[in-house]
Subunit: 474 residues, 2 copies
C-alpha cells in the first residue's frame, strides 16, 4: 500500500468509523453468530499475492462485522463499560503511526515524559494526594500483579526475587487479604506471583458487600499468631459484581499497623472520583502503597489504558529491573525508564490518547458525562424499586445496578434464578440490549452498568421496556 493509497483508504476508514459510531445502534449489541461461524468463513491459508485494501474491507464488513459485539453501542450495559471517544481513537491512530516502543526514555523521551505528565493530571483529577507517581499499564490485572510482587519483595527484603521459595521458612507462608468480592485478577495475580490460592485470605463483607475492617484485623492477627506472614491487603473500590466500596479509611490503618502493602483496585470506580460528590469513595487512599484505575473503562480512553500509581517508585523499580548491557543508556541515572515499572519490556505510546481525551473534553465535560451516567443508573434503580415485581439487590453508589425480576408469590431462589437467567438470555438474543449477570449469595442477579459514551436516557428507558417485555413472557 503506497502513500497515496494509504491516504485514500485511511480517509475511507475514518468515514466508516464516523458512520459506525453515529449509528452503532443499527447492529445487534451482542453478536448473534454461532461458534465457528466466523472462522469457517475465512480461507484456510494466507494469500501469496497482495490483495487490494477494498477487498479486505469488504470481507471485514461481510464476514467479520456480524461477529462483533458492539461495545460502542448505546445499549451496551454488560460487564463494565469500555467507553471510547473520537479523540481517543485519533490518539491511538497517531500512536500506531509513530510506532514507538516506549520501553526506555531514550527510545522516545516524549512518550515517557508525556506519560508522566498525564498521569499527574489524572491523579489531580481524581484527587489523589501528593506523593504518588504513575505509569500506564495495559490492564488492572497487570497492575495488581505488579502490586503483589512489590508486596512480596517488601516482605522478604528482595529475597523472593533472589531465592524463590527458599526465601521463606517452611510453614510461614506470605498471606494476602481481600474480600470475597475482590476481582478474579487478585487470585490470578497471587497464583502467578507464587503465593498460592491457600494463602489468599478471604475477608468478610458487610451488608453492602464492602470489606469488614474488623474481620481483616482479626484474620491478620490470627495469621500472625499462627506464625504466618501477613504481606498484602487488596482493597476494592467498586467491586465487579456490585460496585461495593471497601472502606479505605478503616482498612488503611490496619494495613499500616501491621506494615502490610496496601493495594487499591478501583478499576472502574476510580474515574468517578473526578466528581467532587463521589470523591468520598477514595477516602483513606493516603494509606495506599499502590492504586489502579482504568481510564479505558469509564474515562473515554479506548481500551487499553490502566493508570497505576505507586508511592515508592524506587521500590517498584528494584522489584522489576533487569539491566542487560543492550538496554543500558548513558542517562539511566537521570531519567525514568518505564521498562522497570511493569511486567513487559516493550510499551506502547498510550499517553497520547489520554492527552487527547483530557484536552478535547476538558475536566468539566468529563464530570458532566460521568454524573449523567450515575444519574441514569439511579433513575433505573428507582424504576425497579417502584415496580412491584422487581427488586434491587445491592446498593447503587455509582453506575451499576444489580436486580432481579421477582413476581409475587415466587419466592424460591432456585426458581427465580431460572426465571432471571431466562430473561437475560432472551434480552441478549433479541439483540437490542446487552447485559450480563452476577451471583449474589446464590441469587442470580441481572446487572446493568451505564457508561458507554453514547448512552442517553432513552436507551435506559428502552432497556427497562425490554426487560419488562421479556419478563412478561416468562
Amino acid at each position: 500500500m503506497d502513500s497515496k493509497e494509504f491516504r485514500q483508504e485511511g480517509h475511507r476508514l475514518i468515514d466508516w468509523i464516523a458512520e459506525y459510531l453515529d449509528h452503532a445502534d443499527r447492529f445487534p449489541v451482542l453478536s448473534q453468530v454461532r461458534p465457528g461461524e466466523i472462522r469457517n468463513a475465512l480461507p484456510d491459508h494466507p494469500p501469496s499475492g497482495g490483495e487490494p485494501f477494498a477487498a479486505i474491507m469488504d470481507d471485514f464488513e461481510q464476514v467479520i462485522l456480524p461477529g462483533v459485539t458492539h461495545w460502542n453501542h448505546p445499549r451496551f450495559f454488560a460487564y463494565f463499560p469500555a467507553n471510547n471517544s473520537a479523540p481517543s481513537i485519533l490518539g491511538e491512530l497517531l500512536s500506531a503511526g509513530l510506532g514507538v516502543n516506549a520501553m526506555l526514555w531514550q527510545t522516545s523521551p516524549a512518550a515517557t515524559e508525556l506519560e508522566q505528565q498525564v498521569m499527574a493530571w489524572l491523579g489531580e483529577l481524581i484527587g489523589l494526594p501528593g506523593g504518588f507517581q504513575g505509569s500506564i499499564q495495559d490492564t488492572a490485572s497487570t497492575a495488581t500483579l505488579c502490586a503483589l510482587l512489590c508486596a512480596r519483595e517488601k516482605a522478604t527484603g528482595f529475597a523472593f526475587n533472589a531465592r524463590g521459595p527458599a526465601a521463606l521458612d517452611p510453614g510461614r507462608p506470605l498471606r494476602i487479604y481481600c474480600s470475597r468480592e475482590a476481582h478474579s485478577s487478585v487470585i490470578k495475580g497471587a497464583r502467578i506471583a507464587g503465593f498460592g490460592d491457600e494463602n489468599i485470605v478471604t475477608i468478610d463483607v458487610d451488608g453492602a458487600r464492602a470489606m469488614d475492617p474488623d474481620d481483616l484485623a482479626r484474620k491478620i492477627e490470627a495469621d500472625r499468631d499462627a506464625g504466618r506472614r501477613p504481606c498484602c491487603v487488596v482493597a476494592t473500590v467498586g467491586t465487579t459484581s456490585t460496585t461495593a466500596i471497601d472502606p479505605l479509611a478503616q482498612i488503611g490503618p490496619v494495613a499500616r499497623q501491621h506494615d502490610l502493602w496496601l493495594h487499591v483496585d478501583a478499576a472502574l470506580a476510580g474515574s468517578a472520583a473526578i466528581l467532587p460528590e463521589k470523591r468520598w469513595i477514595l477516602d483513606g487512599i493516603e494509606h495506599a502503597d499502590s492504586f489502579v484505575f482504568n481510564p479505558h473503562k469509564w474515562l473515554f480512553v479506548n481500551f487499553d489504558c490502566s493508570a497505576f500509581f505507586v508511592r515508592d517508585p524506587g521500590h517498584l523499580e528494584r522489584v522489576m529491573a533487569i539491566d542487560p548491557a543492550y538496554l543500558q543508556t548513558d542517562r539511566d541515572d537521570q531519567v525514568t525508564n518505564f521498562r522497570d515499572w511493569g511486567i513487559q519490556l516493550g510499551r506502547r505510546f498510550r499517553a497520547l490518547k489520554v492527552w487527547f481525551v483530557l484536552r478535547s473534553y476538558g475536566s468539566a465535560r468529563l464530570r458532566e458525562m460521568l454524573a449523567g451516567h450515575i444519574a441514569l443508573a439511579g433513575e433505573f434503580a428507582g424504576w425497579l424499586e417502584a415496580a412491584p415485581d422487581w427488586e434491587v439487590m445491592a446498593p447503587v453508589p455509582l453506575n451499576t445496578v444489580c436486580f432481579r425480576y421477582h413476581p409475587t408469590g415466587r419466592n424460591l431462589d432456585e426458581e427465580l434464578n431460572a426465571i432471571n437467567k431466562g430473561i437475560m438470555d432472551r434480552v441478549n438474543a433479541a439483540g437490542r440490549i446487552y447485559l450480563t449477570h452476577t451471583v449474589l449469595d446464590g441469587r442470580f442477579a441481572l446487572r446493568l452498568a451505564v457508561g458507554q459514551t453514547g448512552t442517553q436516557r432513552r436507551h435506559v428507558v428502552e432497556a427497562w421496556e425490554e426487560l419488562r417485555r421479556q419478563a412478561a413472557s416468562a
Copy 2:
C-alpha cells in the same frame, strides 16, 4: 468532538501520518532533547474546558514531536526493529474504532475466531508443525512468563497454583535452564513466577554464542543428582545481542528425556522462518511445548503483537483460568475464551492488524522484504570484513551485525571499548543514524540491525559512511 469534526480531523491526521512515513528521514532518528525538556513544556494542570483538536495537534508538532525517537526512520538500526506498515496502522485504527474487549468469545466472537485463524496462518508461514495453537499476546516478555507458569504447574501438578512455596520440598527447588545470551525477560519471568534468580541455571554457549546442548544435559543431570527439580528449558532462536541460534534439534531431546517444558523464544528471528532458506533456524521446533515470536518486530505489524503458540492449550487454560460468576457464559464449553490464555483479562482486537498485513502484502512480498533486510546486513558485514580497521564480532545469520572499530596497533579491549562507545555516542548525537550496542565477553560491540520498513541499501551505505566518519574523528 462531533462526527463531522472527527471526519475532518481524522482525514488530516491520516494525511499527517502519510507525509510522516514518506519523510520520516527528515527528523533526527534519535530524539535530541534533554531530560525534562518535554515535561517542562507541558502545562501543570489539565484544562477545565475542552480545546479544539487543531490546538492539540499544534502542540503535538511543537512540543511532543521533537521528543520522539523515530522508529519508522529508514536509518533506525538500534535494538531490534519494530517495523510498521500502512495496512497495520489502518488495522489498529479500526480496532480502536470498534473498541472491543476480546476477553471472551461472547464479547466479540470475530475477535477470537479471526485471532485463531491468523495465528494458524502465521504458524503455516513460518513452517510450524501441526499440533500448535496460538493466541496474540502483547510482548514476548508476557508470553515467556506464561510459558514459565505452565512449566511450574506441570512440574508440580498444579500444586504451586494451589499452595505456593509449600508445594515444594525445602531444598528441592524448581530449576530453569537458559544460556547466558537469553533475553532479560527470562530472568524477569522467573522472578515474577517465584522461581528465584538462584534457580536460573546458565548454560554455556559455543563460539557462535548458541547454547551448548551437552552442557545443558550435564547441568540437568547434576541438578537431578543433587535432589533439585529440573523444570524448564528456555531456548533462544536469535539472541538479542547477536541473533545466535540455539540448536533446538539437540536441545529438544534433552528436554524430552528429562520431561522438562521447552519454551522457545524467537522474538525477532521467528519472522525469518517465512523464508525457506532460513527455516533451519526452527529445526527441532517439534520438541517445543511453547514458542513465541513477534510480528511487531519484523513482520510489519505495528507494536504490540506477539504470537504465542502452545502444544497443549488445555494445560495453559488450566494454569490461567479463574472462573467468577460474572464472566461465565452458556457457551464456555463450546468456545475458546482467550482470557484464559494469558496474564491479562482484557484483550485488544489485535488480529485485525495481522489480517490486514498478511492480506495486503501477501506472503511472497513479505518474503522478499525480509530477504532484502538479511542481504543488506550481509553486505554491511562484508564491508566491515574488507576494511582493515573494522571487525565483525559475531556470526551474522540474520539481519543483525555486531562489530567494532579496531584500528591497527590498538589492542587493549578497554581502550577499544572507549573508542567504540565514543563512536556510537557521536553517531547517535549527529542524528542521521541510530544504533545501539551490546557487550560480548567484556568487549563493547556496536550493533546494526536492518529491519525497518523503509530501509533501503542507500541507508545502510549512509550508516557505513557515518560510522567511518565518526571513527576517523576518534
